[in-house]
Subunit: 330 residues, 2 copies
């Protein structure tokens, strides 16, 4: 009978003592690549379970240099989009015995850098989601640690993005098929890679004469509210918003002005948030979140193990037609 009885408080020493073997044998038995006899491993595993052993991460980290944890940098956890990224990353990481430190930067590039500097010693690498900082500074702060970008490209670093151009194209085609010609886009902040990407794609898809460019806005919802009047004044009959929150802001103000959606204005969002979290049946371009987060975790872990080249993946986007778009009334 060992002296330690509290749950999860036994060490390899307890196991070693219990079994009459050395601690290094226990350590090896518990290590994936460890070289021990099958019989010994079996006994160690049995004892570990019986004694409710759980490795002390701090000790392991100190000795291996690997922290078994990753830092996730997100602009704003309150945005359902990022909440889902966080959730996805967290679950995937846990399944491979890693934990995720989440840093919410309140949409401040400065805080992004600060968070990275702060956490760099405590994590094996970073997942940097849709950061606002500029390329140079970001690269500088990330120098020396592994990192995977999510929904942003940064030359030299692996990334998980989605096919925004295709998403915009799908949205434009959908609106054209409904008879709309004069189409507006409410652009997101210029500091956002995704916003620049969407705008560029929009400019490619919609010819000068038909194109109405609004924004850029800063705060999503309030920006949408604030842009609705300009949208009405522009003569556009349909709009593609930077994201769903912006679309929600637009819809809110449009309705307040007595303009029906979709009859008076077709609105396409971007992100494809859940109807449940939106409480509005918004036509929207779905952008993968949980899948992106999972892929990013995998890429990061692969990079840490130096397995293969630092690849980047581009996930597909898909238009979801719901109730905020309708044929043009003439």
């Amino acid at each position: 009978m060992t002296s330690r009885t509290k749950a999860g408080r036994s060490t390899i020493h307890d196991i070693a003592a219990d079994l009459g073997v050395s601690v290094s044998t226990v350590s090896r038995a518990l290590t994936p690549g460890g070289t021990v006899s099958p019989e010994t491993r079996r006994r160690v595993e049995e004892a570990a379970g019986r004694l409710d052993y759980r490795a002390n991460r701090a000790a392991r980290s100190l000795s291996t240099g690997r922290m078994h944890s990753i830092g996730l940098i997100v602009p704003d956890l309150r945005d359902p989009f990022f909440a889902e990224v966080a959730k996805g990353a967290q679950m995937r990481a846990r399944s491979v015995d890693h934990t995720v430190y989440i840093a919410d930067t309140d949409r401040s590039a400065e805080l992004e850098f600060e968070a990275i500097d702060m956490m760099r010693r405590d994590v094996d690498g970073f997942l940097v989601c849709a950061p606002l900082g500029d390329d140079e500074a970001l690269r500088e702060h990330l120098r020396g640690t592994a990192a995977v970008m999510i929904h942003r490209e940064l030359a030299g670093l692996p990334s998980v993005t989605s096919d925004l151009a295709s998403g915009i194209a799908q949205a434009v085609q959908h609106l054209r098929a409904l008879g709309h010609h004069r189409i507006a886009h409410v652009a997101g902040p210029d500091s956002s890679w995704g916003a620049r990407r969407r705008r560029a794609a929009f400019e490619r898809e919609v010819a000068d004469g038909d194109r109405v460019l609004l924004g850029p806005i800063a705060d999503p919802f309030e920006g949408g509210v604030a842009t609705a009047d300009a949208l009405l004044a522009s003569g556009a009959t349909a709009v593609i918003a930077y994201n769903d929150l912006v679309a929600l802001g637009l819809v809110t103000r449009l309705r307040a002005r007595g303009v029906s959606v979709p009859d008076g204005m077709s609105v396409v969002g971007f992100d494809g948030l859940d109807v449940a979290t939106l409480a509005t049946s918004l036509t929207s371009v779905a952008v993968p979140r949980q899948v992106a987060a999972r892929s990013a975790v995998d890429l990061l872990l692969r990079a840490l193990d130096e397995v293969g080249e630092p690849a980047s993946v581009v996930l597909p986007t898909q238009l979801i037609v719901r109730d905020s778009t309708a044929p043009l009334r003439r």
Copy 2:
């Protein structure tokens, strides 16, 4: 010139060598209560800054037993309510040099227990937010580690809750003042302490003859959608929903049925989520989230330092009147 040049990679040894003092002196100089001469402390701090020193958490944890991190258990990060709790806890913790591990349990009591068992060795204590597990099991899994409950009471443990009874009372008074008599409540899951609390308060406030009790529902938004028809059939002219997401579900279905809100039905939510995240101007009872999270972090840290008795705090709730409630039409 030291050999370590990479950012954040120097140790107290580097500082000690640089200054020609011992490592323990450096350690003491860097410890709040450390006993060193002001001059030495100054020099150490200068060198630490110059060498970009950052303490290795793993090493410190191993030696002190304190991990400088806390586990946060939340039912669902996608729910804006919990996302804000997470954000608040994270920011407060960071300000006192702690980090937060977030565990999302997908509204499963089983996963709550699992997460606690999983993380217990890696954190100093837990913040358990609105857990669904029953008292006994929860207490059992939490035995031996510090914990603060958020939005749930558990005898023997400190907690941060809000005055739900007052919130319900405020909502009922508001509706009565608008002329409503027959008032419904859509109750949340029985496994939720907050849901039971709200329902009990509602039963206290509204007399048998006027009272309509609906639910309990499981999934917030879908539950609201699914309950709207029963609500209409009940003859109630106003409803207090378990939370804002439920209210949103109700509103969605009511409108689909052609019932105007607030003219055909007054709807009061609960939580007081941002208009921006709701995109609906819902009258609602505001429940503190960030403040609650911050208080909880403070309580936990105090408990860990064994400063004072394990107190509990009850924060006020406040009705926010927006556009989903209106005078009864007769």
